[in-house]
Symmetry: C2
Subunit: 413 residues, 2 copies
């Protein structure tokens, strides 16, 4: 009698979020592809193995101060009353060097960063000597390696520059380049195709709606280690959707399909997936996004999400972050900060709730302000949000003053 | 007598950081250029004016549930014992609509997100009616606008989507597109040229050093609202440097010149700038980076920084962040979080100190771990850092357990 009820049947037995994660983890996903790049091109990528320094940084001993490079033994007897006097045999500016000029009783003027030639083993600061007539007077025996940064002291040959699954930042590139590491093994950019479905997305259609969800997902996924693209817009036709998904599976490592997920009275995506893949889970107890369904197709994930912008984004992102951890070991997708909740937030029993929040910092610590939202599809409530807070399905809510984790949105996402 | 001392003279009277900021603020910098873009292309840019919604989101009244759109007056007398019976005249799926079909005593089946046609003013949830024989029975009078998201309820026409100087994120694009805002005024990408100086940077030179500083700065400045590029490598020649700077001033809005800043015994950059610009300040009491010198040239900033990678990056970034705030009003360059310091950190009296830190979060709040560094140029100490902590020159240090602000490095920088 209740036609609508029947339609919702597919989602009547929702599993908890943790069970959905477990199922995702247990799937034998297609292994990610890796590639070898010069360090400069690896900026923003995820390394697929521990990356080592091939050589030392600095490569040679370097001066930490402006002063005079000496052999400490030449000043062995130096004292206030009986200074050692050394002839200045030249000058070493940053980067340049004057190897093999030394003869006993000589020193070389040197500047911060200058390479210290053999056999010098110490640099005396300019403030600690008297200079005149091409000579310096030294009033105390310097310690061996005083004011010297020894070769490999910054980064030693063979040490780990970046651990497996870490993100390559500019200083990692410098450390690789500087230590002679000219190749780095990284994961290929994960290729994500976003397919939108819905008759209403075609200009001129009755009740035309701009295709904001696809655009939102693609631009949100614009990260240096991902390659996300719009992979087509399909009508509400099982055949058209199936064809588009099948073609996209050839090109992409991961698919997201928006709309046609049955709560809106249409069921085209599940129907079109019948022959293309096997469901990992069909919906879960999260809000928003309980209809999010994950399929495995040729070893690749196909996420079927709502067609409404914010619910589809927030729910997809929750699972996608977990997927990146599972597939690449990558744990820096969204940064977590902890702060005190400024107001209580109640949560629907059994459902893991994704709440938009603002984060304020100050000398009293970090404050987390929940952002009010009415309705599931509201854009207004995300415009000023800094990130999201997840309340587990086992919790009825979070109390005021409670210390809660917030997953920040990217700085420039 | 002390040749080295004389060379350092230019930096003997260093000003405090706050004074350096004040001088930067008081300069009449060239006004930034703005441009008008479609919202999609504005993603990652900084808006140069408040950006308003041209229309409502949603554009029409929409259903928040699956159920039946009704005119509440048609159910005025409905009760448990005397239900109102309405004929179902059609169905409205998400996005589609069936305007002007209604005649008195009718209802329309509707799904979440469906546009509600005139004159309906309420949606009754499917769970609350009995359906059969093409009719529904309604057992209570619905409230007017029950389960209806009214036009403009998410984002109202004329409301602010993004305030001046805010960063355009994917949801701002959706809000603009969805509300009919098809043009947005943003700052043109700030064009930053990085010039490296030093004989040692030329392959084959004595004491050759890879040009890591220029590369580090350019890749660090890779942000969607900036356009940073390498603008040449010059020998330690006053004329060559001056020529390169002059040419770059034609192309860029802001210049950074690495090396040749006199503590290394060379003074070519200050000499080459003599005819090209006026100093805003020459060095300041910060560590690392006390030699950082700012010039104004044709209304544009020219930053002369150390040639050593990490000191040049950290000191430049401190001033550049302030410059972005001053010029564009932009305050989201680096995100600040607060946490408890796990160990005391002592600071050199009078100097604002930039310290690399790690940030750990957990149910005990956010912990800040200082990263040990030896020597100023150490790359090793930044490889695992999450951001920096600034200790003001007025403070001798921060105590263990003190709540301190940390400026995070970008997520994917």
């Amino acid at each position: 009698m209740h036609r609508v009820r029947r339609k919702m049947g597919r989602f009547e037995e929702l599993i908890p979020l943790e069970e959905a994660f477990r199922r995702m983890d247990s799937v034998d996903w297609k292994q990610p592809v890796t590639e070898t790049l010069p360090p400069q091109e690896a900026h923003g990528r995820i390394v697929s193995e521990d990356t080592m320094a091939l050589g030392n940084i600095p490569e040679w001993n370097r001066s930490l101060v402006d002063g005079f490079a000496v052999l400490s033994d030449d000043c062995a007897a130096a004292s206030e009353t009986n200074p050692a006097v050394l002839a200045i045999n030249g000058v070493i500016e940053a980067g340049s060097s004057s190897f093999s000029r030394y003869t006993s009783g000589q020193c070389t003027e040197i500047y911060t960063g200058g390479l210290i030639p053999e056999p010098y083993d110490s640099v005396i600061m300019v403030e600690d000597v008297e200079v005149g007539g091409g000579k310096i007077s030294v009033f105390a025996r310097p310690r061996k390696w005083e004011n010297v940064q020894k070769a490999g002291d910054d980064i030693a040959s063979g040490s780990v520059i970046l651990q497996k699954s870490g993100l390559v930042r500019p200083w990692h590139v410098s450390a690789m380049t500087g230590s002679g590491t000219d190749q780095v093994r990284v994961f290929r950019k994960l290729r994500i195709g976003v397919i939108a479905t819905g008759n209403e997305l075609f200009p001129g259609s009755e009740g035309y709606i701009p295709n904001t969800t696809q655009e939102l997902l693609v631009s949100y996924l614009n990260r240096p280690f991902l390659d996300a693209r719009a992979a087509g817009v399909a009508h509400d036709s099982r055949e058209e959707i199936a064809e588009m998904i099948e073609a996209a599976l050839e090109k992409y490592d991961c698919l997201v399909v928006t709309g046609g997920t049955s709560l809106g009275g249409r069921d085209e995506v599940p129907e079109s997936m019948e022959k293309l893949g096997t469901p990992v889970f069909a919906g879960s107890m999260i809000r928003p996004g309980r209809t999010l369904t994950l399929y495995r197709s040729s070893g690749k994930p196909v996420f079927s999400v709502s067609g409404i912008p914010i619910p589809s984004l927030l729910s997809f992102d929750l699972f996608f972050e977990h997927f990146l951890k599972r597939l690449l070991g990558f744990s820096q997708y969204r940064r977590t900060v902890w702060g005190k909740l400024s107001q209580p937030v109640s949560n629907k029993a059994g459902y893991a709730g994704i709440y938009r929040v603002r984060v304020r910092g100050g000398p009293d610590g970090t404050q987390v302000d929940p952002v009010k939202s009415h309705g599931t599809g509201t854009l207004g409530s995300i415009l000023n949000a800094d990130g999201t807070m997840l309340i587990p399905g086992t919790a009825e809510g979070f109390e005021q003053g409670e210390l809660v984790p917030v997953k920040l949105f990217g700085d420039y996402i």
